[in-house]
Amino acid sequence: MMTRPLFTTLASLALLSAGATAKPPKKAATTPQPAPTPSVVTAVKDADSPLSIVRVEVTAQAWDFIHPWSKKAPESRSGMGAVLATGEVLVTGDLIANANYVEFERAETGERMAANVEVVDYESDLALLKPVDPAFLKKLQPLEIGDAKVGDRVDVLQLESTGAQVETAALVTTVAVVPYTTAGTPLLAYRLSSSLQYRDGSFTLPLLHDDKLAGLLMRYDPRSQTIDAIPAPVIRHFLAAAKKQPYVGFPRAGLSFAPLRDPQLRHYAGDNDSPASGGVYITAVEPGGPAEQAGIKQGDVLLSLGGNAVDADGNYRDPQYGKQAIQYLISMTTSGSSLPVKLLRAGQPVSVTMTVQHRSSEDYLVEPYLIDKAPKFYVLGGLVLQELSRQYLKEWGAGWEKKAPEKFVYLDRYQDDVSANGRKKIVFLSQVLPTPLTIGDDQLSGTTITKINDRPITCLADLPAALEHPINGFHKIEFAEAPHLLYLDAAQTQAIEPALMRNYGLPAIKSL
């Protein structure tokens, strides 16, 4: 039909910028914002007393997902690291994301030392660093981990350019499960109110309570003067997991639920008790996830988890932090551990055991994050083929959810609803590098690949094998969308590779 566009095109490539230096702090969604208060500096330790923090200088270079064969310009970040008794330094994952080089600096002496990343978990946004020479940390005072609770006053540590340590007061106002910055993982966070002055290297500020490390600053919103901090329990859980090789991240149950306050829904679900008796309505279980494997079904009412009663909003009573979302309970268990689950199914009680598991980014159809990793690509005769990831969509910058190609944003958001059809990844044509072989094809982009040479393509790694079987001398490429069918001369596709690499500065024709 003449009125329908045949192809979608990548709009506004010029707008791409994703500098990681200036991360806008995410605004707290629903909590009331405290009134601005003047900055309360509670202590200034001069450079002669032993400190518990080091400066961390990072040179980072992110991969360019639009030109997946190259990295973006290097950038510098600096932050604070908390020194631990293990001879390691704890920082946020954000600080060392895509790091090429990490260096410590002793605030008191200005001494510098290269450091290595020992463990990093971008979901809990934590990383452990180690100096090349362990003696570097000798004179520093290691920190223990200690919890804070609502109402506690904690101190945020910063360094003056003189090397003096400044402590600014902050008040813990909320302890709740929130989505973390990098991967959106729901984990416990402290929300604090504090008027924090910008100082040299404000990434990863340690929070002290009774001289113990209560948390690490994850994000700060200067307008509402709100800090979200990674709390002691999450840090402890990370440190425990980091002792084991290989590192396994925080587990999840793979289920989603809706509150069961609506009496009409309660009757429908076969639960004739009042909402006060609790329970949530299971709305979905992730295919192949822990909940599904445990036999939990959409429509079940979740009554208790690990022996803890679940209320009608999906909270349980945590001995330390009171009413918390059940995600916290699950995240604090170890991947592979089992939880007893009590359900109501069509009015009948059912008990199952669920073995919670971590789900790594690679196991998603659309990977939620890709950090420190080169994007995969295959440049086939000029057609740039990639695997869809949220990292690619984030190249559209702030507000990418509305700027990036809508169908890809949809596929990312609703990937559990989308029929995967045996696909491990969504392989798509991101752009066409004009070559003699791609004349007339250069407007194509954003189409997803289903088959090459009649072989199903479930991920980019399937390409080499499929390309070994051209049909009558042509590579037959099939798309899910128009034009559905594209041919490339197989011999020319290979012959053109040196020119393609030379003209477009490709270090390689593919990276799988």
């Binding site: 039909m1 003449m2 009125t3 329908r4 045949l6 989603s256 809706a258 509150p259 306050r261 609506d262 009409q264 829904l265 009757h267 429908y268 309505y281 299971i282 709305t283 979905a284 959409q298 429509g299 005769g381 959810e401 809508e406 169908k407 944003v409 949809y410 958001r413 609703y414 609803d417 003699p436 072989l437 791609t438 004349i439 007339g440 094809d441 009558n472 042509f474 037959k476 969308e481 128009a482 034009p483 559905h484 069918l485 594209l486 041919y487 490339l488 001369d489 020319q492």
Partner: protein, 487 residues
């Protein structure tokens, strides 16, 4: 309130040397000034009458005591008057035929005296590029007849903004066309060569006005000869240009720059089952198709779709194709116009809706999107990819829970606004009428499932019954549904 059809302002045009061979005294006997009192439907409160508005436009007398004008001049009309030059009387007019897909309409006037002394205009050919034309009408800037002159700048396919989705042949002219010119004749050698209809606002492009050319006008007049307007027909398929050597060789074509590949066949369209992806279209009704999708038509190189544009319901299209190396002929009958038009603006309808337990359900449409501007990703995807991803197959209408009138019955359902209705009590909902029927069916409870939502909305029949009058009274709703049956 004063509404204008053509939304742009252009300052005075430079004078071009053109033949001024349209004596105004003659044209005065054909021109009609049209005043339309219309109502803009209120999609956010669909049971409301909507806001009353007025519009001014131009028309002209054609054969058979009829007035031709633009569809957008007379859309959503409640009361229509026609006036002629040198006659103070306002004559009541009504719409005889309207074609929203090509922005044309034909009006009738009850009082036969209106046409006394009026001279019907005849239609001319597609004007040559650079030839002079004159535009007559009643644009802003004064009350009396206005004439502007210019030349034909371009002949091309253009989007007709009235429906927002249809593209047809249009002629670009550099004569000033301003709000109020809409529906007015563009003359050359005493014949109508176009109907002025749209342009750009002055801050976008200058001296750029568009008229509907006579091939489109003639097609409309022929279509309505049987007393019914059938709309444009199309093949409901997409093509891919065959300029790529690999693609040509793989499809077994010589290097002769002919043919395009079928790249999409819309399920539910007339080509389904007749054409396949990968077929090469070599000719259409005997015209050879170039590799860029154009054909030679009367000496001019035009898009192949122009051939189909000129066809009518039940006409045949003869395609010469090559499938798997074999040449063959395929004849496609244009049995019906494309039925899934959710992305086109609607006119002359009151918004359809169903209200159930305070939940307002409306079919997704262009007007709906304009009214609500929803952020919801799923809703935007279903709107934007309705055709491309063939979402119309499962959901010919996308029935949306567009608003909730708060009431104790729906206290816990606020989060589900913008959800797409998928099932009621186990019955799949494909249209708004399906929803109305499912809600009308007696049951103890109504289990409403929304797409992608694992939590059903459950409304108990007893609660619905108790809430019905309460909600209608509180929110001043005159009726629980409008299924569009009376339109």
């Amino acid at each position: 309130m004063f509404k204008v059809a053509v939304c742009f302002l252009v300052s005075a045009l430079m004078v071009v040397t053109v033949r001024a061979d349209e004596p105004v005294s003659q044209v005065r006997k054909s021109l009609v000034r049209i005043t339309n009192t219309f109502v803009d439907p209120d999609y956010r409160v669909p049971w409301n009458g909507g806001a009353m508005n007025g519009a001014l436009g131009t028309g002209f007398v054609i054969s058979g005591s009829r007035i031709m004008t633009n569809a957008h001049v007379i859309s959503n009309t409640r009361f229509l008057t026609a006036e002629r030059e040198n006659d103070p009387k306002k004559y009541v007019a009504h719409v005889e035929f309207v074609a929203h897909d090509c922005d044309l309409a034909v009006l009738k006037v009850d009082d036969a005296n209106f046409f006394k002394g009026m001279v019907p205009l005849d239609f001319g050919p597609l004007p040559e590029i650079e030839s002079a034309v004159s535009v007559f009408g009643y644009p802003i800037g004064g009350d009396r007849l206005s004439v502007t002159r210019g030349i034909v700048s371009r002949v091309d396919f253009q989007l007709y903004t009235h429906s927002g989705v249809d593209s047809h042949l249009a002629v670009q002219i550099d004569a000033a066309i301003n709000p109020g010119n809409s529906g007015g004749p563009v003359l050359q050698n005493g014949n109508v060569v176009g109907v002025a209809f749209q342009g750009y606002s002055g801050d976008v492009a200058q001296n750029t006005g568009y008229m509907i050319p006579t091939p489109v006008i003639r097609r409309f007049l022929k279509d309505i000869e049987d007393g019914h307007y059938d709309r444009y027909m199309d093949l409901s398929m997409g093509t891919f240009n065959l300029q790529n050597p690999s693609q040509r060789a793989a499809l077994g074509l010589p290097d002769d720059d002919t043919g395009v590949m079928v790249s999409d066949v819309q399920a539910g369209g007339v080509s389904q089952g007749q054409l396949e992806i990968g077929d090469v279209l070599l000719s259409i009704d005997g015209h050879a198709i170039e590799s860029d999708g154009t054909v030679d038509l009367d000496g001019a190189q035009v898009l192949m779709s122009e051939i189909v544009e000129r066809k009518f319901k039940n006409d045949l299209v003869k395609l010469g194709i090559q499938r798997a190396g074999q040449k063959k002929d395929v004849t496609i009958k244009l049995t019906e116009a494309w039925p899934y038009n959710l992305q086109a603006s609607e006119y002359d309808h009151t918004p359809r809706y169903v209200l159930f337990g305070g939940l307002l359900f409306q079919p997704l449409s262009r007007d709906f999107m304009d009214a609500y501007q929803p952020d919801d990703l799923r809703l935007r995807y279903f709107y934007d990819f309705y055709i491309n991803d063939q979402l119309y197959l499962d959901h010919p209408e996308i029935v949306v829970l567009s608003a909730i009138l708060p009431d104790p019955i729906n206290s816990y359902l606020g989060d589900y606004q913008n959800g797409i209705l998928d099932e009621v009590n186990g019955t799949k909902i494909r249209t708004l009428k399906d929803a109305a029927a499912a809600f009308a069916k007696p049951a103890d409870e109504y289990v409403i499932k929304l797409l992608g939502q694992g939590r059903p909305l459950v409304l108990e029949a007893a609660a619905i019954k108790a809430a019905r009058d309460r909600i209608l009274t509180r929110y001043h709703v005159p009726g629980e549904q409008n299924l569009g049956d009376d339109q």
